[in-house]
């Protein structure tokens, strides 16, 4: 009798749904803003497919893509994306939205970085962090995400030795998604690099304020890449292409441009489909 129950339960799980499904690995900073929850039902209805979203950092999302465990990846690290496509794992890098990163921190700004350029701000954070590690702290994603990659590139542009910084007392590697990292920085009264979308979505939970908002280095572009059927013939590349055309379609681009205005007074993203590679 128990054997029958077990068999039935397993059979119940393996019965596939009628609608085909598309599995997409998405970066946490896009997921935490709720944009996917907003677009998902529209996509599912329009194309009659189930969208299965695995929320992961850019690093592991690309790993899933390389292994063929997902059909598409949506991330924001242009260097890694280009390498992914160049190595034949992805079909094409299609940017569809962007916003800017921000450096946020405690209201009293103990390191006095407000209004500086990102590189100058980071340099100052390092100096002040060394001098005053109790007051000046930084929380990093530390998870090979797109945000983490951007953070590392700013440290490099500022002329700082990243490996030395990692060992510093004032630098904390969270190893978490963007939302969790913001909450951690909030608890520690620390500085962190965040994308504008997630920061606005979490505004009510944080005492942190934006301190550095301008700078070419802070550009944050989200792209969608279909996993190449050459490496993994089983991937549902047609449905992945449907997702790409959905995200770059004029109606959805307009929806992306307006997303967040009702709740936060300002849009979280700007559309950029069709713009040249950044």
């Amino acid at each position: 009798m128990p054997v029958i129950v077990a068999a039935a339960a397993i059979a119940g799980f393996t019965v596939t749904a009628d609608a085909p499904s598309l599995r997409v690995a998405t970066t946490s900073s896009l997921y935490d803003t709720g944009l996917w929850q907003y677009l998902e039902p529209m996509f599912e209805e329009k194309f009659g497919v189930k969208l299965d979203l695995v929320c992961a950092g850019t690093g592991v999302a690309l790993e899933y893509g390389k292994r063929g465990d997902v059909d598409a990846v949506v991330i924001h690290d242009s260097a890694k994306e280009e390498q992914f496509v160049a190595e034949g794992y992805g079909v094409e890098r299609v940017p569809f939205a962007y916003n800017y990163f921000l450096v946020v921190g405690p209201q009293d700004d103990p390191a006095s970085i407000k209004g500086l350029s990102p590189e100058d701000a980071f340099r100052k954070l390092m100096e002040q962090g060394e001098k005053n590690p109790q007051q000046v702290r930084f929380v990093s994603r530390g998870d090979e995400s797109g945000t983490h990659a951007k953070e590392k590139s700013i440290w490099q542009a500022a002329g700082c030795n990243y490996e030395a910084i990692r060992k510093a007392y004032w630098y904390n590697e969270g190893g978490s998604g963007m939302g969790a990292t913001l909450l951690m920085a909030n608890e520690m009264n620390a500085y962190t690099l965040t994308d504008r979308g997630t920061f606005l979505a979490y505004r009510t939970k944080l005492r942190l304020v934006p301190l550095v908002e301008e700078g070419q280095m802070l550009l944050n572009v989200y792209s969608v890449i279909a996993v190449s059927p050459c490496k993994h013939p089983h991937t549902r590349v047609e449905i992945a292409n449907d997702l790409i055309s959905f995200l770059t379609s004029p109606e959805v681009q307009r929806l992306i441009a307006e997303y967040g205005v009702n709740d936060y007074g300002t849009p979280l993203f700007a559309p950029c489909a069709g713009a040249g590679p950044h």
């Binding site: 299965d52 292994r67 939970k205």
Partner: protein
């Protein structure tokens, strides 16, 4: 700390209103962990009896290994299973990564050492006299084994309850091989983890309380079984 009290209230609200998403993940948690516990029991009760009743070289070592695996981290089981089930892995063709079946397999593997070790331990607790009496009355090996298992049923059922507990409470394995996909592989524990990292502490607390409540209900039922 008011989150605990608010979480309790929210838990009652969610249960009373039959919140569909909570019902869905609770049902999924129960069926996944229940199935895993069932499968592990079907494997471990016979296997544990076999190990207990036979003497073979390396028996002591085997028991040591089993007991060491009580401490296997759930994330490690998840990681190893991921490498096995990934499309790029040996069993990739089955396509069961990121499905509930993967979580069932993972949890079964996770609790097998526990159930094995505790079954052997439970059987060891049965007096040798019973075995000798049975043998002297002409019982076969299988009949004797069944007799001892029934004598030890209290302890064996306790082992099953513990196995179920470890399965339904684990996060690491379910997160890695399941992916916490909404509507597919999201269960109570992965939802708690996600809501916590989103800062939704009351909801996370409520989900935790609901899980404990489910465990309580199951325990009451299994305890009734134990008394018979």
């Amino acid at each position: 700390m008011s989150e605990i009290w608010h979480g309790l209230i929210k838990a009652f609200q969610l249960i009373a209103s039959f919140d569909p998403e909570v019902l869905e993940i609770a049902g999924r948690s129960l069926s996944i962990s229940g199935t895993a516990c069932l499968l592990a029991s079907l494997i471990c009760l016979p296997l544990g009896s076999l190990i207990h009743f036979h003497h073979f070289p390396g028996k002591r070592v085997l028991i040591n290994i089993i007991q060491t695996l009580f401490s296997v981290p759930t994330v490690l089981v998840g990681l190893l299973l991921f490498l096995l089930l990934s499309r790029s892995g040996p069993l990739g063709e089955l396509g069961i990564l990121f499905t509930p079946v993967a979580i069932i397999i993972g949890q079964t593997i996770l609790i097998t050492p526990l159930l094995l070790g505790l079954t052997v331990s439970a059987l060891s607790g049965v007096s040798k006299e019973i075995v000798d009496t049975a043998a002297s009355l002409g019982a076969s090996g299988l009949q004797t084994a069944w007799l001892v298992l029934r004598e030890a049923r209290y302890a064996v059922l306790a082992a099953v309850i513990m196995g179920f507990g470890r399965a339904i409470s684990e996060v690491g394995c379910a997160l890695i091989v399941g992916g916490n996909i909404k509507g597919v592989t999201r269960i109570i524990t992965t939802a708690i983890s996600m809501e916590t990292s989103k800062g939704e502490l009351e909801l996370a607390m409520a989900l935790g309380i609901i899980l404990l409540f489910l465990a309580l209900v199951i325990n009451i039922a299994l305890n009734r079984l134990q008394q018979r």
